[in-house]
Amino acid sequence: MPEPMIRLNRLTQSFDGMTAVDALSMDIAQGAIFGFLGHNGAGKTTTIQMLTTLARPASGTATVAGHDICNAPLEVRRRIGYVPENVRLYDTLTAAENLMFFARLSGVTAPQRRVNEVLELLDCTYLADKRVGGFSKGMRQRIGLAQAILHRPAVLFLDEPTSGLDPMGIKMLRDLVLRLNTEFGMTIFMNTHLISEIAKTCTSIAVLSHGKLVFHDRIEAVTARYGDDAALEELYLSLTPVGRLAEVA
């Protein structure tokens, strides 16, 4: 049995006495596209922040690509890419200038060549010399994805990647994620609200409710047991507080 790419061991985070993530434990296999579902405020973003070493857990630990997030954060950072929910870049710089900066910070050798490669890979060479300030949400998302894969990470963290995108943008992003997974073997950890996307993209899913893990399984097992997208939605709603409220009503 190969080592999981991401392993969470009672990972906990709290803010001002409120537990945001409560003793989260799970394994995510290498090469998986993992969909992390949950209501607003469930603790999905906080989990990503801990796994990407942006925030230190209150207790518990996790390993990403075999390295402990608390004891070896630099090793973890060398192996991960991260696309936040709202991709923010230097608006006064062009897309290529932004990417050059992040490529250099990531220690990419021959950064100019790599920036060109990534822009080509994501089919956005035409954006290279345009200032990011004038970009649409979809364009920003692409450049956000570009900055995350410049250093060829083993794991890519996406926080609500489809948020605010039109159907065309969502499809484009889905195709890119699938391509990065299949062609480059990247393990993808994706926070999302879109259940339909989970079924089309993910190989395993987990549901978080009030910081607690309430469901975790491979997508084949889920679809075999629950059937189509609508059934998946039913499952999600039954596991979250909104769903339980609907049941009571």
Binding site: L54, L74, R77, P84, R88, L89, Y90, F102, R104
Partner: protein
């Protein structure tokens, strides 16, 4: 050239480039350079005028068969030609330094790129080191322009001869000027990193600058606010009363503009005889200590800056 550089230098270089693209920073820096040029011209013009009047008067006195006194221009040190520069440094130089320090961190916070920087494999202090290095580079650059203007002024003035010791004094003045602007740059950096909003991040150091430039000198040296824009009257001795005695002891170490002006006056040879700094700490040492304190505060705020919640609230 493509290659891998140290993260500290990458952050420093990139931050400096971003800041120099900012219109406010460019305009303030340009204004500082223009005022430095004006201060040099004022010194040259005042000296030339006195010299011309002296030459006319000497010719008249000689024709009248009277004794010609010595040229007053020769009685003063040529370095004092640059005395106005200390005023412009205290006013626009310090303000430019605040804006530079603030924008160095404010641009990242406003852009919201801290999480994207935070996940890069940089050392825990690389960001702080890079920002302080960028600030140092920009302040030294600004001071270097002022030094260049001063050196050029002395080299082009035909009647002025600077001795080796005076060149050293001039270098000392430029070092003190760099320190003084550096203090305000570090305060700007610290406020930019620590404040929750962009407005507060800029208002806080500007208020401190106003206090240090216009209010504290009134308490430690009995100066009117308008005297702060004059290099000579700013060095007036405070009345010998117990209030000023205690004010100098308590507030003297914080009266940085006074310290800078006394240090400048000493180095540029225009400190009137018998006049000394009201503070019990020698001016240059005071400035060095203030730089250390400002540096420590900037370091603390920068290393504690949250890469997840670093964006401005408003």
């Amino acid at each position: 050239m493509e290659g891998v550089s140290s993260p500290n230098w990458l952050i420093a270089g990139q931050s400096a480039r971003f800041v120099l693209r900012e219109r406010t920073v460019s305009l303030l820096s340009l204004l500082f350079v223009v005022l430095v040029l004006i201060s040099a011209w004022l010194g040259w013009s005042a000296t030339s005028t006195v010299n011309r009047i002296y030459l006319d008067a000497a010719a008249f006195l000689q024709a009248a068969g009277q004794q010609v006194p010595t040229n007053p221009v020769l009685d003063i040190s040529p370095l004092s030609l640059m005395r106005n520069m200390s005023v412009y440094v205290a006013l626009i130089g310090a303000l430019s330094a605040i804006v530079i320090g603030n924008r160095l961190i404010g641009l990242d916070r406003k852009a919201g790129v801290l999480p994207l920087i935070g996940i890069r494999p940089l050392g825990s202090n690389a960001y702080a080191v890079g920002k302080i290095a960028a600030l140092t580079g920009l302040i030294v650059g600004l001071a270097a322009v002022a030094a260049l203007v001063a050196v050029a002024t002395f080299l082009v003035l035909p009647a002025v001869t600077i001795t080796a010791a005076q060149w050293v004094q001039l270098a000392g003045f430029m070092a003190v000027t760099t320190l003084y602007m550096g203090i305000f740059g570090l305060i700007g950096l610290a406020a930019g990193a620590g404040a929750r909003s962009e407005t507060v991040g800029l208002l806080l150091p500007v208020t401190l600058w106003l206090t240090l430039t216009f209010i504290l000198p009134q308490l430690t040296a009995n100066l009117n606010p308008t005297a702060a824009i004059n290099p000579i009257s700013a060095l007036a001795t405070p009345p010998d009363t117990s209030f000023f005695h205690w004010a100098a002891i308590v507030l003297g170490p914080f009266s940085l503009t006074d310290a800078y002006k006394f240090a400048s006056a000493g180095l540029l040879d225009y400190l009137p005889q018998g006049v000394t700094s009201p503070s019990f700490i020698p001016p240059v040492i005071n400035l060095v200590l203030a730089t250390g304190v400002a540096g420590a505060i900037a370091w603390r705020t920068l290393t504690r800056l949250s890469m997840t919640q670093g964006e401005y609230n408003v």
